[in-house]
Symmetry: C3
């Protein structure tokens, strides 16, 4: 069973999509199995991370922005803007696919875990994530 989530990523940073993914699992009718997400983009990525304290997400974004800076002398791939090549690197360091098992129709996330789309561009983007539900 395969479906698609379309997420409007209105700003650079983490966008929680746990509720949207949980809804897909619920609609599948399957009680137990594996939910695999795949993002169809190379300048945004997927992450399972803490969703309780917003300061954790903010620090994470700041840290990665410092590690992968814009306007690095090393870049030659610059025709799509100064935030494009850093976005490819950031998506490389995180994940294009993540898998979360579910039991009793519910994702087996830990208490403070959420699933996030990480938008690496600084512009408003529409992002598509494919969701596969398997037994």
């Amino acid at each position: 069973m395969i479906s698609q989530l379309s997420i409007n990523a209105t700003r650079q940073g983490l966008h929680e999509i746990t509720a949207e993914v949980a809804a897909v699992v619920n609609e599948s009718g399957l009680r137990e199995g594996l939910c695999t997400l795949f993002i169809k983009h190379t300048s945004a990525s997927l992450l399972v991370q803490e969703n309780a304290d917003p300061s954790a997400a903010r620090d994470l974004e700041l840290w990665l922005n410092r590690l992968v800076s814009e306007n690095d002398q090393i870049y030659t791939h610059t025709n799509e803007g100064p935030d494009d090549m850093p976005s490819h690197i950031k998506s490389t360091l995180t994940a294009s696919s993540v898998a979360v098992p579910f039991v009793d129709g519910r994702l087996t996330l830990g208490t403070w875990q959420g699933i996030f789309l990480w938008e690496h561009r600084r512009t408003d983007m529409q992002r598509n994530i494919i969701v596969h539900i398997g037994a």
Copy 2:
């Protein structure tokens, strides 16, 4: 088929769990399929890496500890201790889920590959990993 592994991570660093995962595959009775692991935590992660020479694991830990240092001025999420925010970053740079196919009831790991829980906190933690076995 879904089960849970509980691992006592007694120190910061890599803890090999290959034998525990292989046992779950064996107990499933399935001969061929996909074994997917998901860790229910955001300050520990999963890794497939060399298990032959302990110096590789040690260098890897030292390198990541240097890249993601404690007491970085950038952190505001500090109320859970100086090793907490670095742990979230380290888990972000590694993986919360990994998938390993199995054939003839055995994981298709390479000769020197092992599956590891990477504990990023410096305290003794109990960690839970969900194991999904699919056809």
Copy 3:
């Protein structure tokens, strides 16, 4: 359904394997499902990334080579050559498994997405990737 791809990685860097993976999906006869790749090595890794502009791949390689340098004073695992320990670190920061759903017998990759083997060693290597096709 499990098969193996053998890729001759003739140089350090990204080697696109999208066509090889698509062929495995096609040969499976399944119209819809999940294709999961697992690499049996710890000094090469898997990546889904832009395949349109070669400058993106080149910048990515240069950036990671700078972050994970050879001849770092921290390394003690040096008996397999100066490019070995950096290769383990690079594979740790990228992925050993990736999953891509397929629909109508075709991978659901975005327009400019390709699947790559990332060879981290500087020598000519034969690399094996296990492909699992599930419903």
